[in-house]
């Protein structure tokens, strides 16, 4: 501890697990937005990643509440948030936003998009697999052209609803921090917007990397048109995100309110590595430059693949650093603006580094399982996925 802190402030309240939570929900929102690019805005080039993006979103959404449960003093009481939600609490309302997004948007959209494949797989498998697909199909066998048209229409509506829902999902997390007037590092109306755009950046980067990885595992060729388009959207979204973060910074420096001197000192000492080096330089400026390079100059396919992979990886690290800097950074300084503390991150502890790393790996394990059950590649890219001529006649 350095300087003066209120005696109860020395210990940090929100750990690396709470850093993980906005990171994971951000990936969900970002992956979904990328998927909706094709569905609603008819960006046909990214169609090969449509289903993959949805499954990725689902895998991360399932894991998202887990760091919270590990963090709670009484996880067995967490149901109270649904029983007696306090209407003025952003955290309580978020429980319903999460539930809405999981049930009414993501699961529904995946089900409608995959329904035909589920029924086909139910018909072509045996034993427990068949039972699984029968349950997933809810016993419905109808995959006639008319039925699939209905699915398509409803799915389109759900995606339309899903875009603001995805914005809410992650904007709310930003609001949870941005609405805390006691903490000047968090308290800004820009917080939900910054969180949302950084979420989109991280989600798009994740889908880009996952697409490249799954193509490599399947030994399938990467659709460069698709990859180039994803990278383009990544670049543009990143420019907006960076602009917003710089706007926040410039405002703070210019207005220099009572907290500024303390926050400035913290930034130059305790947060130097994580914010200036990792988040701004390595995690933002370098990937932006790399992506800009691919936009302005002609690079070979191999060069582009390499640049995209590096840029996307650095982006994800940078966005994780941003979450770290917000959550941990907001607790390193005293609300008296006269002192600082340190975050002691243990390795093997309930809220330590090990559970955090495991929780970062888990979504990929779940994604693997999801891909096995609901393969995104029944059809090649370019096929009309939603309306197909190879429909079986009704029995």
């Amino acid at each position: 501890m350095e300087g003066f802190m209120y005696p109860n402030e020395v210990e940090l309240q929100w750990s690396v697990l709470i850093v993980l939570y906005p990171f994971l929900t951000g990936l969900v929102a970002g992956a979904f937005i990328l998927a909706s690019l094709e569905r609603v805005f008819r960006v046909e080039e990214v169609k090969p990643t449509y289903r993959l993006a949805l499954l990725t979103a689902l895998a991360f959404l399932i894991v998202a509440p887990m760091p919270l449960q590990l963090h709670l003093g009484h996880p067995e009481r967490s149901l109270e948030m649904y029983l007696t939600p306090h209407r003025t609490s952003a955290m309580a309302m978020f429980g319903f936003v999460y539930l809405w997004y999981l049930m009414a948007v993501l699961l529904l959209e995946i089900w409608l998009d995959y329904r035909r494949d589920i029924v086909l797989m139910q018909r072509s498998t045996t034993g427990t697999k068949r039972l699984l697909y029968k349950v997933l199909s809810l016993g419905s066998d109808n995959i006639s052209e008319a039925a699939l048209r209905v699915d398509d229409r409803v799915g389109w509506v759900i995606t339309i609803v899903g875009i603001p829902s995805a914005f809410m999902l992650h904007g709310y997390v930003g609001f949870i921090f941005g609405s805390v007037k006691a903490n000047p590092w968090w308290s800004t109306p820009l917080m939900p917007v910054v969180f949302l755009f950084s979420a989109m950046v991280s989600g798009i980067a994740l889908v880009l990397l996952t697409y490249m990885a799954t193509c490599a595992f399947r030994r399938a060729s990467i659709d460069m048109n698709c990859l180039d388009t994803i990278a383009k959207y990544l670049f543009y979204t990143f420019v907006i995100d960076f602009t917003l973060e710089m706007l926040d910074l410039i405002h703070r420096i210019y207005e220099a309110d009572e907290s500024f001197r303390s926050l400035d000192f913290m930034l130059h000492t305790r947060l130097f590595m994580s914010q200036i080096v990792l988040q701004i330089f390595v995690g933002t400026l370098v990937p932006l430059t790399l992506l800009a390079l691919t936009q302005v100059s002609r690079l070979s396919e191999l060069a582009r693949k390499r640049v995209y992979a590096v840029a996307a990886s650095l982006t994800i690290i940078g966005i994780f650093a941003m979450r770290w800097n917000v959550v941990i950074g907001g607790q390193l300084f005293s609300k008296s603006f006269l002192g600082y503390t340190t975050y002691k991150l243990e390795f093997v502890a309930r809220e330590g580094l090990l559970p955090a790393v495991l929780l970062l790996i888990l979504p990929f394990v779940i994604l693997y399982v999801l891909i096995k059950i609901l393969p995104p590649w029944q059809h090649d890219a370019g096929d009309a996925v939603h309306l197909t001529s190879s429909v079986e006649p009704e029995s």
Binding site: M5, N8, E11, P75, M81, S89, M91, A182
Partner: protein, 258 residues
């Protein structure tokens, strides 16, 4: 009145009268309440009506001697775990006109008093701190389940059997008065000794303050001497720009206090 028994300069000389008036107000209530305390019944004092009270506290910086009696008394009365503080005392040193950069210390929350220290000159004083029992408290606003709440008589309390331990309230409090209880695994803070004030007693900290720097205030009681004090003295609250509706009023609070 003997010279040394006179109150410190600036307090207006009403110190002795305050104590007598307090006795007049509290003694019959205490006598009645004590019966229940002795009987050890689990029921709340039946004669206590929440709508007849609106609790606050007056902290007189000109009287605080930094003895830490309040911190110790609170810890004993409320089983406060070591290293955490429902109330604490800070010592300020302000050099000349530099009110934006005071030197502040609070060794173990002031629990064992303060060492002599090496400051010379400047302005030096003690500031006791506790939960401000805000009317528009940001902490109750953010609690997701209603585990921290306002009582009808203006005290902010925590429901230890309902709290999830999410710690959002601890983040939302601008005054740093909340902490995470290491054994209960819930949020914890000053309760204004609700179990005492609802029985007609005063809080443990006010009871044990030797100079009357801390005084419980019942803002709904027309006979409460605090009303007169508030009318005749300049009082402030902490962080007024956050509009929390703090009900802990400070007499003689310097601009340097954070």
């Amino acid at each position: 009145m003997p010279p040394a028994a006179q109150p410190a300069p600036g307090t207006g000389g009403e110190e002795m009268n305050l104590t007598r008036r307090q006795l007049l107000v509290l003694l019959p209530a205490a006598a009645a309440a004590w019966e229940f305390v002795k009987a050890g019944t689990p029921e709340d004092a039946p004669s206590y009506k929440t709508d007849e009270h609106w609790w606050g506290m007056l902290l007189d910086i000109t009287k605080c001697i930094g003895c830490g009696s309040c911190v110790r008394a609170c810890a004993l009365e409320n089983d406060v775990p070591e290293g955490y503080f429902r109330t604490w005392v800070e010592e300020y040193h302000v050099d000349d006109w530099h009110i934006e950069t005071p030197m502040v210390t609070s060794p173990n929350g002031g629990k064992d008093g303060f060492p002599q220290g090496s400051f010379t000159g400047g302005k030096n004083f003690f500031v006791p701190k506790l939960c401000n029992h805000c009317v528009d408290s940001p902490c109750t606003q953010v609690c997701p389940v209603g585990a921290t709440y306002h009582t009808p008589d203006g005290v902010v309390l925590i429901d230890y059997d309902y709290c999830l331990g999410c710690r959002y309230c601890i983040q939302a409090c601008p005054y740093g008065c909340r902490f995470f209880h290491p054994q209960k695994h819930t949020a914890e803070k000053c309760t204004l000794c609700y179990h005492r004030i609802s029985k007609g007693l005063t809080t443990a900290c006010c009871e044990n303050c030797p100079t009357g720097a801390r005084q419980l205030a019942d803002l709904k009681n027309p006979k409460d001497p605090i009303h007169a004090f508030l009318k005749t003295h300049t009082v402030q609250v902490l962080k007024p720009h956050l509009a929390t509706g703090s009900k802990t009023f400070y007499n003689g609070l310097d601009g340097s206090v954070r």
